[in-house]
Subunit: 426 residues, 2 copies
C-alpha cells in the first residue's frame, strides 16, 4: 500500500475554522455594503484559494481536498433541501410550462452564441484550430454554456428573502428542467466526442429514441419520486413523530433527503435536484416545522463551505493581464462570458405572463457551474480543448457566478424604490 498523506484532525479543524470565520466576516461585510452575504462568501473563497493566501485545500490533489469537496457538496445538497422545504409543489406546477420555455430558450441561445463564437474566433484567427476540429470545438464550447447552476441564485434569493416570489419559482423550476436538458446534451456531446479520432469523426451516434429515453427516465424519476413521496412521507413521518418528536424526525428527514439525492444521482441528475424534491415532499407533512428547525442549522453550517470552496476554485493568476499568454485567455473568456450572459438573459423575456419581472428571471438563470465544467473536462480529456480554451471556460463560469449576486440585488432594490416600498413577500 502506498503512503498517502493524511489530513490530521487538528489541521481539519483549522481549515474549518478558517472557512467559517472568513465566510462569516466577508458575508457580514457584503451585507454592510448592501449585497447578499453569499457574495462575501465567494470572495472569502478567492482570498483563501491556492492562488492567493493558500489557506484551504482548494486544488485537486491537495491533502484534505477530497474531504472539503465532499463537505461542500453536502452543503449545497442541504441548501436545496432547505429551499425545497419552503416551496409548495402546487406553486411549481403552476409555473411549469413557462419555466420549461425559459429553460429551453436558455439552453438553445447560449449554445448557439457559444458555437458561433468559436467559428468567429477561428475566422479572425483568435484561436488557431485545425480545420477539421472547428466544428467539434464549437459544439463542446456551446455545450459548456448551456446549464444553469441553481445553487448561487437560490442562495441569493434566500439572502434577499425573495424565495416566495413568482420569479424565484420560475427560476428554480427552470433550473431543474435545465438539469434534465443538460443530460440530453451530455448524451449527445459524449456520443460525438467519443467518436472523435475514429473514422467518421463528428458523426452523431445518438437517436431520437435514446434522447426520448433519457428525458423520460429523468422526468419520470422526478415526477414519480414526488408523487410517491407525497403518499408515503406523511405516513412514515407521522409514525416517526409518534416515537420521538425531535431527534428521530430530524434524523429521518436527513435520511429522506439523502435517499432522494442518491436516487437522483442514479438517474444521472445532480444530487441537489433530488434534495430539492425531497424538501418539496416533506413540506407537505405535518412535521414540517420540526424538520425545518433541525435542517436550518445544518444547512447554515454546511452551505457556506460550498460557496467558499466555489470561490476558492478561482485561479486569480489567470486574470493577470501582465502575463502575455493570459491576454488571449481573458479575451476569449470575456466573449464567452458575454455569450453566457446574453444567452440566458434573453430566456427571461419568453415569459408570457404579466406582472413577472423578466429581467430578474433572465439574470437568475445566468450562473453556470459544475455541469459546464464537466463538458469542459470532457473536451480537455479528449484533446478537443487545449488548456487555453479550458481556462477561458473556467473563467467564464466564475464570472457568471460572481456577477449574479450584485445584479439580482440591484434589480430587486431598484424595483423596491420604483414601487416606493420594500415589498418582501414571506
Amino acid at each position: 500500500m502506498e503512503y498517502v498523506e493524511h489530513l490530521s484532525v487538528e489541521k481539519f479543524i483549522f481549515y474549518l475554522l478558517i472557512v467559517l470565520i472568513f465566510a462569516k466576516v466577508f458575508g457580514h461585510l457584503a451585507e454592510k455594503i448592501g449585497q447578499p452575504s453569499v457574495l462575501g462568501e465567494l470572495l472569502a473563497g478567492v482570498f483563501l484559494s491556492t492562488s492567493v493566501l493558500a489557506l484551504v485545500p482548494s486544488t485537486e490533489g491537495m491533502v484534505g481536498y477530497e474531504t472539503f469537496h465532499l463537505f461542500a457538496e453536502i452543503g449545497v445538497v442541504l441548501l436545496l433541501f432547505e429551499i425545497g422545504l419552503k416551496t409548495r409543489i402546487a406553486d411549481l406546477v403552476k409555473v411549469g410550462p413557462v419555466s420549461a420555455l425559459v429553460a429551453i430558450t436558455g439552453v438553445v441561445f447560449p449554445f448557439m452564441l457559444g458555437y458561433f463564437s468559436i467559428i468567429y474566433f477561428q475566422k479572425f484567427s483568435i484561436l488557431s484550430l485545425e480545420a477539421n476540429m472547428v466544428e467539434l470545438v464549437a459544439i463542446v464550447t456551446g455545450a459548456t454554456l448551456t446549464a444553469t447552476s441553481v445553487g448561487i441564485t437560490a442562495r441569493v434569493l434566500a439572502d434577499l428573502e425573495r424565495l416566495q416570489t413568482k420569479e424565484a419559482r420560475i427560476i428554480i423550476t427552470a433550473a431543474i428542467i435545465d438539469d434534465v436538458l443538460g443530460l440530453i446534451i451530455l448524451g449527445v456531446v459524449s456520443s460525438i466526442v467519443s467518436s472523435f479520432g475514429s473514422e467518421g469523426a463528428g458523426e452523431v451516434h445518438i437517436t431520437l429514441g435514446s434522447v426520448a429515453f433519457i428525458t423520460a427516465k429523468a422526468s419520470g424519476f422526478l415526477v414519480g419520486s414526488i408523487v410517491l413521496g407525497r403518499i408515503i412521507a406523511p405516513r412514515i413521518f407521522g409514525f416517526f413523530s409518534r416515537i420521538d418528536r425531535n431527534n428521530l424526525v430530524w434524523g429521518m428527514a436527513i435520511v429522506f433527503c439523502f435517499v432522494y439525492s442518491y436516487c437522483s444521482n442514479l438517474f444521472s441528475l445532480a444530487p441537489l435536484v433530488g434534495a430539492f424534491a425531497a424538501g418539496l415532499v416533506l413540506r407537505e407533512t405535518d412535521q414540517i416545522k420540526t424538520i425545518d428547525s433541525g435542517i436550518k442549522p445544518l444547512s447554515h453550517f454546511f452551505a457556506p463551505i460550498f460557496f467558499v470552496m466555489l470561490g476558492a476554485a478561482v485561479d486569480v493568476s489567470v486574470f493577470n493581464p501582465f502575463v502575455s499568454e493570459n491576454i488571449m485567455v481573458i479575451s476569449v473568456a470575456l466573449i464567452l462570458f458575454a455569450a453566457a450572459v446574453i444567452g440566458k438573459y434573453v430566456s427571461g423575456y419568453v415569459v408570457y405572463e404579466k406582472g413577472v419581472r423578466k429581467s430578474i428571471i433572465g439574470v437568475g438563470m445566468i450562473p453556470r457551474g459544475e455541469v459546464g465544467l464537466i463538458f469542459a473536462k470532457i473536451g480537455l480529456v479528449h484533446g478537443i480543448f487545449k488548456i487555453d480554451l479550458f481556462s477561458a471556460v473556467m473563467a467564464m463560469v466564475i464570472l457568471t457566478t460572481f456577477i449574479v449576486p450584485p445584479l439580482l440585488n440591484w434589480l430587486f432594490e431598484r424595483e423596491s424604490k420604483e414601487n416606493g416600498l420594500t415589498e418582501k413577500t414571506v
Copy 2:
C-alpha cells in the same frame, strides 16, 4: 502526482445514508429493549465493519476512510460541546477535588494491574518475552490501561437523561483531569520507549520539572481559557446577537467551539476537551438558548457517525475462538479487560462524599479509547509490542466500550426501582 482513488459524491452520500439508517434503526432497537441508544449505534458499526458487511470505509487506507474519520471526530467534538452547553462551571468546581482523586486512582490502579499482568504472563509463559523486554512491555501495557475516554459515558448519561446528576459531573470532570494525567504518562512513556534500543535502554530521561511543566501547561490552558472565555464570550455574543439573532450566533458558537478544540490540541489535550470547555463558557452567555437550539441538530447529525465508526473499528475475526492463534489473544485480552474494569471501578470508591453512587462513578470511568490505542501504537512501532499483544489491547479497548452502556443503564434502573421512583433530574 500519483493517482489516488477518490470518494465520489454518490458513494459518500451512500455511506452517509447507510451509517445514519443503521444508527437510527439499531439505536431504536436498543431503546426498545431498555438500553441506551448509543449501544445500538456501536452494534450498528460492528455490523457495517470491514469484518462483517463491509458497508462503510472503517479501515485505514480504504477510500473514504479519512473523510469518515474526520466526520466522526467532529461528531464527538460537537457532542462534548453540546454537553458543555448543559453544564454549569460552578458545579464542576464543586466536584473538582473529589474528581481529581477519582482520576488519580483511576490511573494508578489500572497501570499497576496492567503492569503486573505482564509480569504474570511472563512467569506463567502465556507470553514469551525476552527477559530484557519484560519491564518495558509491562510499562507500556500499564499505560494503555490508564486513560478514560469520556465520549461513551457522556453519551450514555445523555441518553439516560442523567447528565445533571452529581455522579455525571464527577465522571466528566475526572475524565478531563485524566486527559491531563494521560499527557504526563505519554511524556514519560515516550521518553522510556525512545531510549529503547540505545544504550541504557529503559532509563527514564524525564525530570520532575518536565512533568510539572506538562501539567502546568495543560491545566493552565484549561483554567485560562475558561476564565478568559467567561469575560469575553458574553460581550462578543451580545454583539453578535444584536447584528443577527440566529444565524450569526449559531455560526460563531461553532467557531468558538472549534477555536477551543484547536487550541486544546495545540496544548496536547484532546480536541473534545476544548470543545467541552467552550460549551461551559457559552452556557453562561445570554444567547445559550439560541446556541443550544442550533447545536443540537448538528450534534445529532454528527455524533452517531462517531459511535458507528467506533463500532466499525471492531475486527470480529479476532474473537473467533476456532482460530487457534486467537485463543492466546483472547485470553490476554480478557485478563487486560478485567484489569481495566477493576482498576477503574475501584476509583469510584475513593469518593468521600455521601449520597454519591460510587458504583456509577466506577463504571462511568471504564471506557478506554483513542489514548489507549496511541500507547499501543507507540509500542507496536517501536517493536515493544508484537501484533498479538497489540490485538489484545485493541480487544480490551473495545470490550470496555461495549460493557458500559448496559452496565450504567442497569445501575440507574436498579436504583430507580429501589427508590420506587424514576428520579430523573433535568
